[in-house]
């Protein structure tokens, strides 16, 4: 192997060492810029979630006292004394769909429980279920906004 002068000459930063270091430094900067570009390349979102509306049909289909699961919207439609309301079925903990029990919504994944108005009863979820809005048109058709 060649023995380079810098390894026997203790002078700090001979011209040659400096050039080699500079070369490596420049390459490192290019590499870092490349990595930065790569992370931007991968961070692009090809889809954006847009709020959706769901036509639920005539209000008569949801009689007083009814609790209806709308699977495509992941939501429950409740007809209580206060009228027709909607609550999201998506558990705020990690996103599983909650089940309707006798008097609560129970999450099958990690055991969170929520009251029928969506309020949190028991963790691990740290928030309540999201309230959704339901619109009733002039001809009595329901629309759910998520």
């Amino acid at each position: 192997m060649n023995v380079t002068p810098s390894s026997i000459n203790p002078t700090p930063l001979s011209r040659r060492t400096f050039l080699e270091l500079a070369g490596k430094g420049l390459l490192a900067v290019s590499g870092l810029l490349g990595l930065g570009g790569l992370s931007r390349f991968f961070s692009f979102q090809t889809e954006t979630a847009v709020p959706q509306t769901f036509a639920l049909g005539p209000a008569e289909n949801y009689p007083p006292g009814s609790r209806t699961f709308i699977s495509q919207a992941q939501a429950y439609i409740l007809h209580t004394d206060e009228g027709i309301t909607a609550v999201s079925a998506i558990c705020p903990h990690l996103g599983c769909s909650v089940n309707l029990a006798d008097n609560s919504f129970d999450c099958p994944c990690h055991g969170s429980r929520f009251a029928l108005d969506g309020e949190k009863l028991q963790g691990p979820a740290n928030r309540s279920l999201r309230d959704l809005s339901v619109e009733i048109s002039a001809d009595n058709q329901l629309t759910l906004l998520t």
């Binding site: 060649n2 390459l27 931007r40």
Partner: protein, 338 residues
């Protein structure tokens, strides 16, 4: 300095006269570099490409215009692919004009020719993946050429396209060939080709006894040169890709009006020119196959090369091969430029 992985890919020393740039033109090494670039940029493109007729052109546009550095990645892939085909041809011509095809390297010459064919198929299949108006007629004409083969034509077409016309099945097949099937073959044959280079004693040179210049180049110096060459090549490729965008067209549409002028991709322009003469099978299949056959037959031409002339430009004993090579290249070039 202890030898690194990259040093181990090379013989400890190689003959110096044949390692000069003026001898190799750097074409083989550049081909390896461009192939690696293509693998990396191709892998990046796969994160956004959608191989369906409705999604393909849109996803290419999304990659080109909206993904940060997506246009750069696509341009790098495009220019590396065009560059690979060009440097491969230069590499082949160099081998033919410096006697590198002579025994014991005849077999490796054929492997190289196989790689060239694979590169052309990779270029064409990649070109088709754009699935936009710009590639439409080349795809239609190019695949209908298969149908023109007597007897097996329709069957071969079905095997290639998975249907009666370019559609979802054909796109997925081109995609699978481009990103996997052809790449697998390319890697296998490519590694074999490089292995044979080392196995056959590196770059072609006269037998040791007949050498006038006995100087040899140690591999650590070779690697240093290669690293500098690779850095420069990367920079040049980035600059080209920054300022010259790869071609792109509007999404393929049934309602699009007929194109004023439909052109084959540049590497098939010579075939398009030939096809204007008449019978599709003869001019579009037999003649190109004959060109390939002719190239494959060049190392078999007698008398074979004088051993002391191997590894130098235009050896006297290889005149027939040199004239045939230049004849073929010139003919193809003229047909391409017509």
């Amino acid at each position: 300095m202890s030898p690194s992985f990259f040093h181990h890919l090379h013989p400890p020393t190689i003959p110096k006269p044949q390692a000069r740039f003026s001898h190799t033109l750097g074409a083989g090494g550049l081909a390896v570099f461009l192939s690696l670039t293509l693998l990396v940029t191709g892998a990046l493109e796969m994160f956004y490409y959608v191989p369906t007729p409705d999604g393909a052109a849109e996803s290419v546009q999304m990659l080109t215009f909206l993904v940060p550095y997506g246009g750069l990645v696509r341009n790098l892939h495009f220019w590396a692919a065009q560059g690979l085909l060009i440097v491969s041809i230069i590499h082949m011509v160099r081998v033919l004009l410096t006697g590198g095809y002579a025994a014991p390297r005849r077999f490796n010459y054929w492997l190289g020719l196989g790689l060239l064919a694979l590169i052309i198929f990779l270029d064409f299949s990649g070109y088709v993946l754009r699935w936009d108006e710009g590639i439409r007629w080349a795809l239609v004409a190019g695949t209908n050429l298969i149908k023109a083969i007597p007897g097996i034509g329709p069957g071969a077409y079905r095997i290639l396209m998975g249907g009666d016309a370019p559609g979802p099945a054909a796109l997925v097949r081109f995609y699978a060939w481009h990103i996997f099937g052809l790449i697998l073959l390319f890697i296998i044959v490519g590694v074999w080709h490089i292995f044979r280079v080392r196995r056959d004693g590196g770059i072609a040179a006269p037998p040791p006894k007949l050498r006038q210049n006995r100087e040899r180049l140690p591999r650590n110096e070779l690697v240093r040169i290669e690293v500098v060459a690779m850095i420069v090549a990367t920079a040049v490729l980035i600059l080209i890709s920054t300022f010259f965008p790869a071609p792109i067209g509007p999404a393929m549409s049934e309602t699009a009006p007929p194109t004023a002028e439909a052109r084959a991709p540049w590497f098939f322009l010579w075939v398009q020119q030939l096809l204007k003469n008449g019978d599709a099978f003869f001019w579009g299949v037999l003649i190109p196959l004959a060109v390939l056959g002719l190239l494959a037959a060049l190392p078999l031409i007698r008398p074979s090369l004088a051993p002391e002339e191997i590894g130098s430009w235009l050896p006297k004993s290889g005149r027939v091969v040199q004239i045939a090579t230049l004849g073929i290249i010139l003919t193809l070039l003229i047909l391409t430029l017509l």
